[in-house]
Symmetry: C2
Subunit: 428 residues, 2 copies
């Protein structure tokens, strides 16, 4: 039998589910893969805590270093999360020549380049399928199956909490605060939802997706991000009237400006495949000249789907150990010019509260024109002596769009720039 000893760092939701399945489904996994996967050491913070799995005495420990260094641990699974101390532990395992499987998007986005280099140097695998899209197979397709495709763009709904909130706001007219509360009540949102609603969680995933899609490392500090806290029910309604739905997207692109990644709310055409992704479901949409359009959709979080992704990586790493292979690098990062966000072409939806008098539209149009941004469509709704103007621009570099917004904001006839949200559509 091909026995592989597994050491876990962490035994929370994902780790606990993984241990449970490694124990309960041991025979089924062995039949399917030929592998005898043994949980040998599990490092936890609180060994006295009640766990949802049962395991032999002596397996649970508080000594994470001991798990890594243990001679009967062939493979390390890091599911403790966070940058520290996970990063140094993963590095130590790789340097000790032990393959590592991790679900830690934050760590990979922050230190992926360094960790992948360490794995390469030791000739062992560093696998992180679970870091993006939970149970959706996306890392392997992107980095292996599509290795021969010149991917042009990846757009993803990679945060289930915010997609759940936006779905409730769109479909039920629920206000943001109430939709967030519902997400928390249903367990989709953390008690502290900051990382989700500010786009920080999605930004880590965007960095990873961009790095894999374009083969050049995109650091987390190169991913500008904005969240959904300022998306209003009013803009969701206006967007719907114009044929769009508002989604929080992670966008990784390779344009003339260079490689870029960003996260922000987006007006997406209602007939776009990502527009149909509802609730906490995640989805990743990939474009390239040969494959045209690919869509991957499924559960983006949760112990069970994430554990399936981790388990797939564990099986893969175990096979490589048994093959005795000094594996070739899976991912190779070539240096590449990262685009300055100001040069990336974007389109905008802008909602203005303006004085309702003759000549106002001409002034606003002139302001856009001075910034060299052309207007695609204008829709006006009047009420007494104030009017609401909805403007959608054509594509222009982000910096020019911001210049236009500044000029418009400065106009006397403009009472407020009530909303400004980017638009993603194939039109110019």
């Amino acid at each position: 039998m091909n026995t592989i000893g597994i050491g876990l760092l962490g035994a929370g939701t994902v780790g606990g589910t993984l241990i449970h399945r490694l124990v309960e489904e041991h025979a089924a996994i062995a039949a399917k893969t030929g592998l005898d996967l043994q949980v040998r050491r599990v490092a936890v913070r609180d060994p006295g805590k009640q766990r949802a799995f049962s395991i032999h005495n002596g397996v649970i420990t508080t000594d994470a270093l001991g798990v890594i260094d243990s001679p009967d641990v062939d493979l390390v699974v890091e599911v403790m999360g966070g940058r520290d101390p996970a990063g140094d532990l993963v590095l130590r395992a790789l340097q000790a020549g032990k393959p590592v499987v991790t679900a830690n998007k934050e760590l990979i986005a922050a230190r992926g380049s360094e960790l992948i280099a360490a794995a390469e140097q030791s000739g062992v695998a560093l696998l992180f399928e679970a870091a993006v899209g939970g149970g959706i197979p996306i890392i392997r397709p992107l980095s292996e199956t599509l290795a021969g495709e010149r991917i042009t763009r990846v757009m993803g709904i990679v945060n289930g909490t915010t997609n759940f909130i936006l779905t409730r706001m769109s479909e039920e007219g629920t206000a943001y605060a109430e939709a967030l509360q519902q997400a928390q009540d249903l367990g989709f949102a953390e008690p502290d939802p900051t990382a989700d609603v500010t786009g920080a969680d999605a930004a880590a995933k965007a960095a990873i997706l961009a790095s894999l899609a374009f083969g050049t490392w995109v650091g987390l500090d190169h991913v500008p991000h904005a969240g959904i806290t300022e998306v209003t029910a009013a803009d969701i309604r206006y967007a719907a009237d114009l044929g769009y739905i508002i989604k929080l997207l992670a966008i990784a692109e390779d344009t003339e400006a260079g490689v870029s990644a960003r996260v922000h709310p987006v007006l997406l055409p209602s007939d776009h495949p990502l527009a149909a992704i509802r609730g906490a479901t995640n989805a990743i949409f990939i474009e390239g000249p040969a494959i045209d359009e690919l869509l991957f959709a499924g559960p983006g979080a949760g112990g069970d789907p994430t554990a399936t992704a981790v388990l797939g990586d564990v099986i893969d790493a175990a096979r490589e150990i048994l093959a005795g292979a000094q594996v070739a690098p899976r991912i190779r990062f070539a240096p590449s010019e990262l685009a300055d966000f100001g040069t990336v072409p974007t389109k905008w939806y802008v909602r203005l509260e303006v004085a309702d008098r003759p000549g106002v539209l001409a002034q606003i149009a002139a302001a856009f024109g001075e910034a060299d941004v052309s207007i695609k469509s204008v829709w006006q709704e009047g009420s007494d002596d104030e009017a609401t103007l909805l403007i959608v621009t054509h594509r222009a570099p982000e910096s020019r769009q911001r210049d236009a917004l500044g000029r418009v904001r400065d106009l006397d006839c403009v009472n407020a720039v009530a909303a400004a949200i980017r638009v993603e559509s194939d039109e110019a």
Copy 2:
């Protein structure tokens, strides 16, 4: 530089596109993967034929065996299609210790078990990502990323021609023959569309999907299949009235009856994720207890997407050659009881032309009851003294459903069983 010599068997649409890209994108592939992929030998039937790619003199040959045996060929790509002589050529390459990449669904469905065993014995890779779903990464996710999931069901729209035809029939009310003609005019359908419209093409893919999903080899002769030639515009309309869309699905299941695979038209609830897959697009829907539901969608055919899938496999196989790894088997097939189709639970939509007189429904209901099939819903539309009855049954073993149909057909009051199509929905 890590140079890998490639020998191709075949240079048609997929092979020609692949050669073109290996030549044109050589530098980009090298930058991304670190591989110097060289096309060294290409076996074709007609060396005088004009090709869409240009290649050094002496590379093109009619000697397929020579390509395989050539010492400067490290890796064989089989894109000639068909069972013979492709099968024996692939076998010879594997036995000679050369990894093989193939896009040949027919060959894998027919001889996959034997070829995979040969690959395993030689310790080389046999990769066939392009065999199912064209450019959609599905083989690798199914056999690797989801190796730790107990998949319960895979349903796929795996034939673009038939999905195109059914989409036209559904959306435009086009008749079958005319929609087929349109598919041929647009190049989606072959001049001889038999393999597509009879479900034979989809059956080969169903066999492969079932084998990978359940880790037990499902031979092509264990895949009952029916095509779309008898789907009528009338049934598409009736189905729509009842909340369904008609799709040709490949279905691979692991039920109490055992593992099964089949291909036939299906009434699918209009809100099912596969219902939204239009035109020639392919999609695969995977269900399992931990991952819940996954959807993969994209271009299912065509030289460009298929070449991307082949290229991904080539890069993977090349990395393994360079790693010098006797790779562990990627797929392990355990013996398993294949279900007799008669025992597989199915549901049916049945359209009956009946005499419009009292007592008819009671007789029909009794016939279903005698076969131990219970009726979920009945919808009646009268016209003069004949009526149309639409019946949807509850789930029952296929053999009982057929028994019921036979009993109904034998009733004097039933003028015709105008249609009988299986229903796939989560309800009982």
